[in-house]
């Protein structure tokens, strides 16, 4: 598996790499290519359809929810010294014979190597009134959420909207619904499937999620869809559901998945199926044309998510810049898209799923389920022996258990050793025990002053030898003379020792600590109030 990457830069004109699409995958590819191309063998150009600087599309739902500032989603601008960046122009056609791409502004850009990162667009189902199947345009206030402009338009409409309908109960639809609710807009989510997030969740988890959404004020209707979008004077007024219900709505978001942007490739005569068909080296049927990200259909399928798209960007960049990379490439393919973690980003909901679901586990897998609907918690773990027989975490559904979801992600991603009993995975911090810090109850061997290695036993011994104040204890044992952090504990110990002993130096004004006769005291550790104790067992309170 090798690419015909150029051998050396010396004396040759740099190879022209033209990247179509400045979304997150195209952007990442350019960054990785420039980073790896130390000899400047490549002259890189990037064409992006949106006017905006590159931004983090993943966070659009956070921006919609008012949880993130626009400033937080701007990505680094490509280094102007290395990358020519054409913003606000679309590629309209590829002329593979001449090796040029025609742009929407009428200009052309030549290439030696073309990288298609054209992404995908929101799929709008053929629903009467949505205006996709007939000539009429969409009624006003019907949106998709794919670009920064979409996000801005929805947010602007949300200011005056009275009721919103979200068509599609997938991750993006639910995030947007929560976001609109946070903006004070009542929301109904309509999902054709029997339950929300049907791609990722089994029914029990989905039901807990629906309850959690209801708590947040998001109304969820499942098992139905929108039969008709009703508008008046081109303004949305309501939707009619397939079960006959009518929901008044003046804002609608269609979130029914995406379709790859393949028109450019198809027009150029490249092999196109659901996406641009590429081989394991991300090369299309034309050896000079690659495709990565949402527009690419690799042997493993469509990425569909950001992480596999990023891996393709990195893979292609490394294949172009590291001569030895090709051999490793097979191993770095990573998990298939279906294995990728999916997280629902919404305030008040903590949901992450990854890998195998409980319902699709094998008979030999161990499936651990925590079902706590009233607590709005549901966790499924799927544990399977790997090829060396070591149990590994191959599936996680974790809802409402934020304390453990990060730990589970690490165990899933890094394949770290699992506890013998996987039940322990459900405990935050691996089940840290509470330790008693009460001076009375702590065992004699407990270190009180860490700085000077002084145990409770040592302090009791010093007290018994006549040190009746914190200062005197410090003088004898050095306890409290480091960071001073144990002063409270030593104080507590001294108070307790003195309180349990009426004849202590503090209550006997005439006797200095050092002179205090041992035989007058009662050891609080010894129990009882005898006055003739001559020897005390300071470690075993029960023996006296």
């Amino acid at each position: 598996m090798t690419l015909n990457a150029p051998e050396k830069a010396s004396g040759q004109a740099p190879e022209k790499v033209l990247v179509i699409g400045a979304g997150m995958v195209g952007h990442r590819f350019v960054e990785e290519l420039v980073r790896g191309d130390r000899d400047q063998r490549y002259a890189v150009e990037l064409v992006g359809e949106e006017e905006y600087e590159p931004y983090n599309r993943i966070l659009l739902s956070d921006v919609l929810a008012g949880r993130s500032d626009l400033k937080a989603i701007s990505l680094p601008m490509p280094d102007p010294g290395r990358v020519q960046f054409w913003r606000g122009v679309a590629a309209s056609a590829i002329d593979r014979e001449s090796g040029v791409v025609h742009l929407s502004d009428g200009s052309t850009r030549p290439y030696d190597r073309l990288v298609l990162a054209t992404g995908a667009r929101a799929f709008v189902p053929p629903v009467p009134g949505l205006g996709v199947s007939d000539e009429g345009g969409q009624p006003r206030h019907v949106h998709v959420l794919r670009t920064l402009d979409d996000c801005r338009n929805i947010a602007a409409r949300a200011i005056n909207a009275k009721h919103a309908v979200v068509l599609g109960g997938g991750v993006l639809g639910l995030e947007a619904a929560c976001g609109l609710r946070r903006r004070g807009v009542p929301v109904t989510v309509v999902d054709l499937d029997a339950h929300v997030m049907a791609t990722q969740l089994d029914a029990p988890a989905a039901h807990v999620l629906a309850a959690q959404l209801a708590d947040l004020g998001v109304d969820v209707v499942t098992g139905t869809s929108v039969a008709e979008v009703i508008s008046a004077y081109d303004e949305l007024v309501a939707v009619r559901l397939t079960d006959g219900r009518i929901v008044a709505a003046d804002l609608m978001l269609v979130s029914c998945g995406v379709r790859a942007n393949v028109e450019l490739a198809r027009g150029a005569g490249l092999d196109v199926d659901r996406g641009v068909v590429v081989d394991a080296t991300l090369t299309s049927t034309d050896p000079r044309v690659h495709a990565i990200g949402d527009c690419a259909q690799a042997p493993g399928g469509m990425p569909g998510l950001l992480a596999p798209g990023w891996r393709q960007a990195e893979q292609l960049a490394r294949m172009l810049t590291e001569p030895t990379y090709a051999e490793e490439a097979d191993e770095t393919a990573g998990p298939a898209a279906s294995q990728e973690p999916v997280r629902l980003k919404a305030a008040g909901v903590d949901l992450v799923t990854m890998g195998v679901r409980a319902s699709t586990a094998r008979d030999t897998d161990r499936v651990i389920t925590l079902s706590d609907p009233a607590g709005r918690r549901h966790v499924d773990l799927v544990v399977r022996p790997d090829d060396r027989g070591e149990p590994t975490l191959v599936g996680v559904t974790c809802l409402g258990a934020a304390d453990v979801s990060a730990t589970l992600s690490v165990a899933f991603d890094r394949r770290t050793p699992l506890p013998v009993d996987p039940l322990a995975l459900l405990l935050p911090d691996g089940g840290r025990a509470e330790e008693s810090t009460s001076p009375v109850r702590m065992p004699g061997s407990t270190t009180v002053c860490r700085c000077n290695g002084v145990s409770k036993k040592d302090i009791v011994a010093a007290w018994e030898a006549g040190a009746g104040t914190v200062e005197a204890i410090a003088g004898r044992t050095r306890a409290t003379t480091g960071c001073g952090g144990c002063k409270d504990v030593v104080c507590g110990l001294v108070d307790w020792l003195n309180a349990s002993d009426p004849a202590s130096p503090l209550s006997d004004a005439g006797t200095g600590p050092a002179d205090r006769p041992l035989t007058d005291a009662t050891s609080p550790l010894g129990g009882g109030r005898s006055t003739d104790v001559t020897q005390r067992n300071i470690t075993a309170p029960s023996t006296s």
Binding site: Y55, N56, I58, L59, D62, R67, S68, D69, K71, A72, I73, S74, L75, P76, M77, P341, R343, K345, D350, V352, D386, R388, E390, A402, D403, S405, A406, T407, S409, V410, A411, D413, R414, R415, T416, P417, L418, P419, V420, A424, D429, G430, G431, R432, A433, T437, R450, C451, N452, G453, R478, T481, G482, C483, G484, G485
Partner: protein, 715 residues
Amino acid sequence: MTRTHCPYCALQCGMTLTPSEEGVSVTPRDFPTNRGGLCQKGWTSADVLRAPDRITRPLVRGESGDLEPVSWDEALAYVAARVRAIQAAHGHDAVAVFGGGGLTNEKAYQLGKFARVALRTRHIDYNGRFCMSSAAAAGNRAFGVDRGLPFPLADVAGADAVLLVGSNVADTMPPLVQHLGPVRAKGGLVVVDPRHSATAALTDAESTGAGGLHLRALPGTDQVLLLGLLHLVVADGLADEEYLAARTTGWDDVRRSVALWWPDRVARVTGVPEALLRRAAHLLADASPARGGAGAVVLTGRGAEQHTDGTDTVTAAINLALALGLPGRRSSGYGCLTGQGNGQGGREHGQKSDQLPGYRMIDDPEARAHVAGVWGVDPDLLPGKGVPAVELLGKLGGEVRGLFVHGANVLVSAPDALAVRRRISELDLLVVCDFVPGETAQLADVVLPVTQWAEEEGTMTNLEGRVLRRRKALDPPGEARSELDILADLARLLDSPAAFETDPATVFDELARASAGGRADYSGLSHARLDAVEEGLFWPCPAGSDGTPRMFTERFAHPDGRARMVATTPGAPADDLQPDRPVYLITGRVLAHYQSGAQTRRVAALNRASAEPFVELHPQLARRLAVDDGDDVAVTSPRGTAVARARITTGIRPDTVFMPFHWPGAGMANAVTNDATDPISGMPEFKVCAVSVARADLATALHEAPRPDTEEIPA
């Protein structure tokens, strides 16, 4: 009664030495850093003065193969002859110097001068490269100057929030914890550490009543965590845009670079729940002066720095501090907690491979001319840049044939220490100056006995950049001499073109002249002046100045006066998890011991407190490996194996084991650690590598034995 400072860490606690039957006894003294406190190491520090195996005569390895006592004249003549022979055959650079961050400023300065002028070698570096260098590189890059804490430690007490990344001060600098008291009481302490260390425990609600935050990040993910915090600062509109506009450059780049580190991605990489990240970001921001808080401080330690992306990790910490508008503001800022006693001064006066005194760069013609002028030599005589410590150790037995070691014990403290041992045994000449027979001294051809802290005069520069006086309380035993005397004699025997003073006050005056106009300017300081002030003086202290307790209040040290923000990209551990090594090893310190333990392992009370190395592991991992508390556990990487007793605790992540590195022998943690280094600072990645862990009695069956010593040594 002698007023001086503790010999160990960079806190340089004030102490008073009183003559006693045994020599001297120690009592703590009220000084701004320790406020009358001392840890067990400090209290027992006088015991090292009377270590039973103290070296009191020069030793040269004789024909029998043993180290045998000889006279000083014989020893030094032998060293000079061997140096001449090696350099005649292989050139000046064939003899190298390895220094230490525990040496006084005077010794550190003289050692650098000795290397450049008497040995004329470019090869000098020091163990501070293991400790400080990533923070130093990041500080220089961001602020134009590197002073660990650019403010007095006491300022920390006035803050509302303190973020401690990878520092276990409760064990390494216990008296410092006093300064965190007010912050803890407000619930403002945030500790990032894979372990529930003694310091992380300071955030427990039961310990303070208020509670702070402990972020148990996966080893090697500190930078991602910091980028995630900065992302939240931007996303939630918490940045101090006014400060950023007025006092920094590069903010736009940095802000864009964190757009890719949104909270749930960061949670997934670091293992720290998103809710904790959000709380930490807001806690810090609310404490910032710009948002009406009393102040916020960001501090890094070795846990953040000892990584192949350590410089960038510290840079990310600095960027966070700058975004919140902290540096240069009251009770606020970024600081690095320098570790070794003179880790700060040690890196300012010429022990670093690329530096001359006063933090001048050796490849800067003006700097060379100035320093050569002070030394009275031709600038062209000075060698060029050498290489950082790990690279230098890699040359031993190859390009480098002879080595001087001062104040370091590389056989225990260097990463991949078994490889260092193999290389050292290939040397033609190893000269070690030490006061006890440490592991490195035991391999030496020549051991020269030197004075200890209480037996000498000098200055130290503590973690605050505060220059203070070390004073003599008693005479050294036997024939032990100061390195200043030894270096002067050797320089003469080697026909050095420059003179070497031996009186510490005179050497300091020369240092002050050499540093004048440099980044670390000491030219306004002298022993006499430091004797006249109770609490020391802060550099920069040019002639006529009273020193600089707080830096950056008006401007940063770059020519434009602005701090430079640099966007960073996190790297993965150089030696990351794989199927047959599925656990991370992290290394660190225990309270009772210091560095390689050469000193503290000679103190009975400290050995009672902490007798041997151990492997800390989580009960889940222990159960999976059938390990009981106290069992011997083997921790193995391709570099070597360490065997030590299991200490089972829920205070560590189940995917990570911890070992302290103070011991040689079978339990030597650095037999396992990786010597991959940060490309900018040269600092090795002590703080993360992938290991297999097994009960020792099963380990030999499961793994190949450690590599034999006969294996070919890489050049």
